[in-house]
Symmetry: C2
């Protein structure tokens, strides 16, 4: 990066000169500690006046260097390619800003090495806290952060070394599966052998909990889960597309219902169907764990689970605000199950 001469920054020394006082007094006034340092109201006012005239802004580097607190909070997140993570980033930034903290978010592509490298980089900048959203290995991250005395907190995927805020994946998946079964049954389908689960990593907590919910709902409906119908092939659209395609080509028939474990996996499924079997888009029942507006409005028969991102991030900051070093509890937030939108009144033009 080419260097450009950085011009004058107003410092507390400049203000002290103009105010005929000392830098420490100015510093105390500017950072709010002036009452405990017994600076008079009058002097504080005049300093504030001069500071605002001169356009003073504190140098956060200097403050962080001296006080160790940087007022930066970092977050790693897998991707920005879906509404769920987009909303997490957005809420995280808003809540951080509301507290005067500088949010730094970085997407790490579900790559454990990149996650660690990014966290190390953030630690170099003395971030006060790190949020691991959807991290592959939150416990390793928690460990290296603890060495530096930086607390972490997990979002979306839980860990055992720091508090975690996640959705109630089991219940969400159970209800979503149940809704699909009810609809399939109402439509007179024999869904038992033709109800797929597509996407996700079998090793991650979210996927395994959702599979558990999927299985239990099937069992409670009096059927037997078919293991070969569970295609936990990863999240990426290309992977779910390939797995879904292979499954359909091997069975030679359309499924009745498909539980898709993320919008990004749903993208792969829809892409394949749009290209090879468009009619099935209107006949198969879809369940999506995560919500996307286009999928929701366009598919006639889509049920979604929408995770309560606002509540999750709010809860997370509540923990950050109140508990300095919290236990590694897992807090579950109930997601919202959305039935398809086809219930609203049609209003067609002739």
């Amino acid at each position: 990066m080419p260097k450009v001469a950085s011009k004058k920054q107003v410092t507390i020394y400049d203000i002290a000169d103009r105010a005929g006082t000392s830098a420490s007094t100015v510093g105390a006034v500017m950072n709010g500690s002036w009452r405990t340092r017994r600076i008079s109201e009058k002097r504080a006012d005049s300093i504030r006046q001069i500071a605002s005239e001169m356009g003073y802004a504190p140098n956060m580097q200097a403050r962080a260097l001296r006080s160790v607190q940087s007022r930066m909070v970092g977050m790693i997140i897998p991707m920005y390619d879906n509404r769920y993570f987009g909303a997490i980033a957005e809420r995280f930034e808003a809540e951080a800003r509301a507290r005067g903290l500088l949010p730094m978010t970085s997407c790490t592509h579900r790559d454990p090495d990149l996650e660690l490298a990014t966290v190390r980089q953030m630690l170099s900048y003395n971030v006060d806290r790190i949020v691991c959203a959807g991290a592959s290995d939150p416990d390793s991250i928690a460990r290296i952060c603890q060495e530096q005395g930086v607390p972490t907190i997990n979002l979306d995927l839980p860990g055992t070394a720091a508090p975690s805020i996640i959705s109630d994946n089991y219940t969400g998946a159970y209800k979503l599966t149940e809704a699909l079964i009810n609809r399939a049954t109402a439509d007179g389908h024999n869904w038992q052998d033709d109800f797929l689960f597509v996407g996700g990593r079998p090793t991650d907590n979210n996927t395994s909990e959702r599979i558990r919910g999927y299985r239990d709902a099937i069992i409670d409906a009096g059927a037997v889960p078919v293991e070969s119908n569970i295609l936990a092939c990863g999240y990426a659209a290309a992977k779910s597309k390939a797995a879904f395609s292979a499954k359909l080509l091997s069975t030679g028939r359309n499924p009745i219902a498909v539980f898709v474990n993320s919008t990004i996996s749903l993208e792969g499924v829809f892409e394949w169907l749009a290209q090879h079997n468009r009619a099935a888009l209107d006949t198969i029942l879809f369940g999506s764990f995560d919500w996307d507006p286009f999928a929701q409005y366009m598919a006639q028969n889509l049920f979604s689970v929408r995770q309560d991102v606002t509540a999750m991030v709010a809860k997370m900051f509540q923990i950050i605000d109140t508990e300095p070093d919290s236990a590694a509890d897992v807090i579950q937030i109930e997601p919202i199950v959305i039935s398809d939108t086809s219930s609203e009144r049609p209003q067609t033009f002739p």
Copy 2:
């Protein structure tokens, strides 16, 4: 934010002690200036060895305080609720990381005040550069950054006070409009009075350029643009939904074609149609300036313009890398026009 005791960070002084040398020597070795400071190869090796054993990581606050360069680059962006801006954030982070810079991105909701406040906050942290992506008022931002000697660069929306990298909106819109007209004509429709333009802000450069492309393509097709068909009502889904709804209710008929100026506006249009006029989803021709996978796969008759985000961000960093203080040129990158996907072979099961 509660304070947690921050433990020992390894510093150059700790390493100097263990290596039996001085902090300045260690510093020189760690930051790469050791050759010009005539540190011997042997000593450099032993210091590096010890540093890695002790797990040294430089304190970037201290470095930034002393050297003025923070190695942080900030970016403001409107939202993360669509693929276009999500991709911009993702590419920005990747390119920054490849250069050893710390990316900081923040979404500012197209709110000029929030944009300025966020930029000021970033300036407090001495970011080396600020990228204004889709900023409402990039020139004001450029001005306050210039006061601090921090260069800026505009992405997506141009400004006059800093270099800008944008899509060739005129050409993209012209081609998109042309494609829609060709299809409508081929389908035997009389589209001239029923070709809407929905979404965007008439005051922003992208919208006005796209409207210009839309108009010119209509004129070149031998028709006359209808001003009341241009609904530049803002980008938000709720606004486009309301404008589109009002238009349809006032004319009492479906349009033949709709040019929608962003996926977020398309969301509003689709939402209204899904709720009130679902059949029209399959009959109206849609053009979307910006691409979304679900919209693309699900709509039978959607043409999209996909902006070349990778090229745009690469070009931006090329300017950042090579030209210290570049002229306020506007560089246009050609976007890609995508016809609907209905051309691929169908493969339906019985």
